[in-house]
């Protein structure tokens, strides 16, 4: 037998034994789990455990100390591992920095490879869309309808439409993310209005493609890597110096791939960009003197991918920005940093779990007495808005960019 044949044979045996060797870039994640001291502090804080109990979702501790110890048995974790919303609370309260959210992805990737039949059907459907369209959502069948959908919403929200700018060597690439591209188009448009107002030299992608986060979350590493590569090519081709996005998930994920793939380009969420690059002074000038809007009390929701996967300073920035807007009072909710349940693709297969997770937020939001909830992420807004509506709450929900764009003076 030649060495090549031998290797083929061995690979086959490994597959039979359900072993996918750890890749080099996974070893650090696996190693972090060895710090777990089984204390269960994370269980006390896990929003999914709080929502459905430790019997249904055995919690981050179980992922660290039990479910991730033996790769040949990863398949048997399929009834638990997909219920993690990836909010990162466990990692944050863990004294040992155990990287459970990444371990979840790693285990999911192994199940995806060895037992695709155990991957929830809802995730396969998302996967088909991503593979076909390079987008996390089925694009509009008819582009004209997409335009119409955008226009009526801008009209309703009183946000002006500005032409897309696509050019080389702009300072900034504005990357709206799939949700704002296909569904919450007003967020994409609002961000453009804001960028224009502050004279940011920006461009959009000529052909929007997903950053790869949803694929990574369902364990489809191959697609996730392909999409990351595709985005890298596009960013390099445009010659931009910075990437700015309005999506929390894209912020953390593109920050990550920019580092992993050595883009040498900083990645910002729009709130960070506004706070750091535009500056609160200019924001105050623009937003601080309008008499047009009546007083409004807003509460905020902190997207997990911003506060726990990027940095909690992002939400400090967001609140500072809100505070300079005239007429805006901020009422902080007790559960402002609690996961909305929309993460980890859980809603695609176990909607009851996702919706249970958000309940705590709803109660706290109502308690604040705010009329409006603002969040800097179109996915969190959708999840919370839907559930607030279901609960009969009168609190309205806006993406932060829409809220700002509405209050900018017309230029």
């Amino acid at each position: 037998m030649t060495e090549e044949e031998a290797f083929e044979f061995v690979k086959n045996t490994l597959k039979e034994e359900r072993i996918t060797p750890y890749h080099k870039n996974e070893i650090e994640i696996v190693h972090s789990v060895e710090g777990c001291i089984n204390c269960g502090l994370c269980i006390n804080h896990c929003p999914v455990v709080a929502a459905v109990g430790v019997d249904r979702f055995t919690g981050p501790r179980s992922i660290a100390v039990e479910l991730s110890r033996s790769p040949p048995e990863f398949w048997s974790t399929a009834d638990k591992i997909y219920l993690c919303t990836g909010c990162g609370t466990c990692r944050e309260v863990c004294p040992k920095n155990v990287n459970v959210p990444e371990v979840v992805n790693l285990v999911r990737a192994r199940i995806f490879e060895h037992r695709p039949d155990l991957v929830p059907k809802g995730l396969h459907m998302v996967r088909e869309i991503i593979v076909e369209h390079n987008l996390a959502f089925e694009p509009w069948e008819d582009p004209e309808e997409k335009v119409e959908s955008r226009d009526v919403r801008l009209e309703r929200l009183d946000i002006p439409y500005t032409e897309d700018i696509i050019k080389k060597n702009a300072e900034v690439l504005f990357y709206p993310g799939c949700q704002a591209e296909e569904r919450a188009q007003e967020v994409r448009e609002a961000a453009k209005v804001v960028l224009n107002y502050f004279d940011v030299d920006y461009t959009l992608l000529d052909d929007m493609s997903c950053c790869g986060l949803p694929s990574a979350l369902m364990g489809d590493d191959e697609t996730s890597q392909r999409l990351a590569g595709l985005l890298k090519e596009k960013v390099a081709g445009l010659g931009v110096k910075k990437v700015v996005t309005t999506c929390a998930g894209c912020t953390s994920n593109i920050s990550d791939i920019s580092l992993q793939d050595q883009w040498s380009i900083p990645v910002y969420h729009m709130v960070e960009y506004l706070a750091e690059e535009v500056g609160l002074d200019r924001l105050k000038q623009a937003l601080g003197s309008s008499k047009e809007f009546s007083e409004v009390t807003v509460t905020v929701h902190d997207p997990c991918h911003l506060i726990r996967h990027t940095s909690r300073r992002t939400m400090q920035d967001a609140i500072e920005i809100l505070k300079v807007i005239s007429g805006v009072k901020v009422a902080i909710s007790e559960a402002e940093d609690s996961c909305c349940g929309g993460g980890g693709l859980v809603a695609y297969h176990s909607k009851d779990v996702a919706d249970s997770v958000v309940q705590e937020n709803l109660i706290s939001i109502d308690k604040t007495g705010a009329e409006r909830l603002v969040a800097p992420c179109p996915l969190c807004t959708a999840q919370i808005e839907a559930n607030l509506f279901k609960s009969g709450s009168s609190v309205e929900v806006d993406d932060l960019m829409v809220f700002i764009a509405q209050r900018l003076p017309k230029k």
Partner: protein, 452 residues
Amino acid sequence: MAGLAAGTIAAENGLETLMLRTGQSATAYSSGAIDIIGYPPEGLALKEYLPDTEVPFKTPSDGLRAILTLFPFHPYGIIGFGADDDKVVESVIAHVKESISWLKERLAGSCAALIGGFERNIYPITVLGTTKPTCLIQETMWSETLNANPDNVLIFAGFRGHAEFNALSTTRAYLENQLRTGKPPHKVGHCVLEISPFGKPYNISSIELARHFDHDGSMVDLAAAIKKHVDQLGATHVAIPPVLGIEQALQNKAELQKELGVEVFELVALPPSVPGFRLQRAMDRTFKNAGGTLLIGHQARSAIFKNDMIESVVAQSPRREVTISPKTVILASGKFIGGGLEADENGIRETVLDLMPVTTNLHPAEEVRPVYHTNVFSLSPDGHAVLGAGLAVDMDFRPIDADGVERAKNLFCAGSILAKYNYSLEKSGLGVALSTGLAAGRNAARMAKEVS
């Protein structure tokens, strides 16, 4: 606890205070009881030197006196370093006493409201049926009359499917102890209740019971479930694991007592417990109410030193790095759990600023093999010396190097990162954290004001 105490006092002193935190530690891990001092640091060696002192210490001041006599470099001793020789003991006692009052005040009315005081150690019952000396417990864990009357009848109530507490074993262990010592109560029973927060009588965690009992009306079912056992045994007291709620526990206790007509109290649970969760939550709120800023998820990684001062601290979040330039820095990074210390087979390291750790005998610990500082017995009154390793400090709680010189003039430390403090053995955990936290916080505040 040390960091929160230090941060709160600094903020109360009008300083702009930022707390960097990654991961929760001793406070969240605790049983919720605040130990001051229960046993001498080096086991029963005390008997030789202070034959008249009763062990466990009857009062915190007995303990502090013993410690200050035998182990002046214990963190409690350092509190008194600045005082005149003849006033050392009294000044430490005064400081610890004041620390306790400070904490009780801050937590009054919170979900972790405390009861007990400096006058004596108390002996709450643990979920193992043992008792331990401590100083303050949460009001929910308090029973006024349990040991007062020989006719008292105590019933331990557990929950089916809640493995963290087994009422039968606890009952047996506690009863045998009572019979051995002759102390009341002598009549002890147990019962198992059916409460399933998510509809299933298995894999029930303490936190979900606590959350469940935070809901309005949840006491009705619980009272009804306990009632028949109380009546059956003629119980005068009911002990349950500490799951009576997070925010509502005290009200729930009152409601249960009203419904049942007997005293109800929570046991001391093994960490991480619901009372620990309450304490962490209440302490976080205290800090924020004092005006402090809590930056969670940021791990201090290193500092830039200039001359004899820390110029800035570099902290890392999952995808961002920040540099902060404070006037003073307090390091309260904990021991091995908290991650302030790390060890391999070659020695012990301080993880954030690469300071010099020392053993419990105050020898440099950088080349100390941990196993040589352990006891052959897993659980013995002599404890494991390696858990007493940490930082050596000057009288202001500034870490010092091998020459006894402070690493930086504006760097202080507090809590279990301090050397010569083996809390598991001494039953002194949160007490030392609190006292040294307040001391370090005040020192830092004083310095910050001087600098500006």
